[in-house]
């Protein structure tokens, strides 16, 4: 009885928090709700500001399939984003591990220099990068998509910071057991940093999936399907735009990142700043 009373007293004190959170959540979700309803309406209904669900979903879906290589673009986006995520996580975590757990003056300097790489606007490096890819015959390949962003200072920084709490005693113990440095990375570091990997995977996948300018430039092959953001931009181009179809495309484009977040969200929250399990 008293226990319950105490509970409700706490809950009562939290009422302002709840109200605040509900308002913020509504603000956050409303544009997404609008996108959902728009996908079920005709373009005129969308333009007129209808915010209830309509009956045009199947028509929009058929039009979308007719006007764009939806499945091809979904497949491409998924493959490119997954390849980039796997490679990036491996390379960046290895570097973060090296920078933090073997850190000395020299490595600190190298790290500081690497940080500079994230400060230049992408627009400036686009043409030189394109020239390189063209010389290396990597245009329109997964490598062309992946290589420029597979090692990012930000990801290395994240792994490095999260490795700060990594117990050095464990490493020493492993060394005494005869494990090599690389084996320590694979057998001890990777499993223990699971949640950091999850967080890094969410961020990398999201960025890769949503990237637009570079894929537009590097995926030159006219005959292959492009990626989802490019498909959406194509739908939004032209003199007359069908908003129902466009928003359905946007919905398809948003789903995978939302799903990835849902699957990994628990580890994501823990992993962002390096909880060690």
């Amino acid at each position: 009885m008293t226990e319950r009373k105490k509970m409700s007293a706490i809950q009562r004190r939290l009422i302002p928090s709840y109200i605040f959170l509900v308002i913020v959540a509504l603000f956050s979700v409303f544009p997404l709700y609008w996108m959902l309803t728009a996908a079920t309406n005709t373009t005129q209904e969308v333009a007129q500001g209808k915010i209830l669900f309509g009956a045009n979903l199947m028509v929009n879906f058929r039009n979308l399939l007719a006007s764009a290589k939806l499945w091809g673009a979904m497949g491409n986006s998924f493959f490119y984003a997954a390849a980039l995520t796997v490679l990036s996580l491996f390379i960046c975590s290895l570097a973060g591990y090296g920078f933090e757990l073997y850190h000395d003056k020299g490595k600190d300097i190298v790290f500081a220099i690497l940080l500079l790489a994230m400060m230049i606007p992408g627009v400036a490096t686009m043409i030189p990068l394109f020239k390189m890819m063209s010389k290396m015959h990597l245009l329109s390949t997964v490598w062309g998509f992946v290589l420029p962003t597979v090692a990012t200072p930000f990801m290395i920084m994240m792994f490095r910071q999260n490795s700060r709490n990594f117990p050095l005693e464990v490493m020493d113990a492993a060394r005494i057991d005869g494990l090599g440095e690389l084996a320590i990375f694979f057998r001890i570091y990777m499993p223990m940093m699971k949640s950091t990997y999850a967080a890094a995977a969410v961020i990398t996948f999201m960025n890769a999936w949503n990237s637009y300018l570079w894929p537009r430039v590097v995926l030159t092959d006219p005959n292959s399907a492009k990626t989802m953001p490019i498909l959406i931009a194509n739908l939004a181009g032209g003199y007359t735009i069908d908003y129902g179809v466009l928003m359905l495309g946007v919905l398809f484009c948003s789903l995978p990142t939302v799903i990835v977040f849902f699957i990994l969200q628990k580890q994501f929250a823990q992993g962002i700043t390096g909880a060690i399990k």
């Binding site: 373009t43 491409n76 390849a83 020239k131 329109s140 390949t141 090599g180 005959n223 292959s224 032209g238």
Partner: protein
Amino acid sequence: MKKYLALLLALVMVFALAACGGETAKPETETAQTETAADPNTLTVYAWDANFNIPALKAAEAAYQKKNPDFKLEIVQQSGSSDVENAVTLAAQANDLSTLPDIVLFQDHYIQRYVRDYPTAWTPIEGAPINWDDFGAEKLSYSTIEGVHYGVPVDNGTAIFAYRTDILEQCGYTIDDVTGISWDQWLEIARKVKEETGMALLSMDHSGDDLPYMMLQAEGVSQFEDGKPNFVNNDKMKKIIDVIVTGANDGTIILANSWSEYTDNTIVGNQVAGVMNGNWIIPTISLVAENSGKWAITTLPTIDGGKEGYAANGGSSLYITGNCKNVDLAKDFLAYTFGGGEGALETYDNALRDGGVITCCISAGQSEVYQEGVEFFGGQAIYSTIVEMGSHVPVIEQSDFHYNARTNVGNAITNIQNGGDLEAELQTAEDQVNFEMGN
């Protein structure tokens, strides 16, 4: 050292895995590419509007298949003309034209600079059996660079002024009352329309600012003179900006903030009783089914009135790139279809039916389809009217800095509307364009 080798091995394995995945995931891509290169009957083309120029290209493909049954046209959709421009820029900058398709659709206003900056990226279309006299001079003035023909015109950018006749009638006017008038008379009529119905009589996409350009062209005047921006000492320009600002302040001209606001809100959303733009705007007007039969088209007003104004806005043409492996086929295809050859009638008729693309090929514009009355426009034979109007569009001085001028004039309009002085703002705009041109 051993450990490093192990690490390398692991890396190679990961890479190899990803690479294998790559091949299985996109076999379609790889094979398609090689086929294109080997197939002597296939051409690839970049275009950017699924409802407009892409149906026109499909029509051309079908027409050419009568001559060459094995012919295939791979149409690759881009999100806009800027994608095509970027593709050419990148390919030329990287010295690797292999990334370009055989043919590209290219904006008229940019092509001159692109041909001059990157001559190897293009193949002149000289020698193709095309009767150039069959096209309007204004249109050809873009695609002819130093006397050499580079492109085949596709759509006709001739400007129309479409009015809602029912609204005009409500205010006591007919379509003839708004034909051949001066802009001052137009402003008066617009005020009346606004009072009686609450509707504006015109709108403009204020992020593209194409209205001043068209209004100037109707006067036979350019934004440029001898390669330099001509704003401050251009009385026509001043008057035109005055008309736009007056209209905007009266609420008779809506300045929309974006292309989508212009089309979706002002036109489709029934806020305006008049639309003035390139004729490619017709499909947008036609989106609102309940307005069928209520529209009619006419020419543009002019500053002095007493004559009809003609202008063009936003056309494009097809160009053969420097990467085309089968130039003869490309030339033959273009000449046979868009170039006024045997397949021209079929091409242009279907392009009109499926995409609303209006030809600038004069003979093709005489076909039966063009003479038909259009129900949406109250039975008016708008297409033949437009082709006829197109032949009157005056040739004016063009510039590579066309869009810079438009942007800065648009900025001046915003500032004048907010209380800036016309002379001073135009001076600022002219200075900025001069600066951007490096003058």
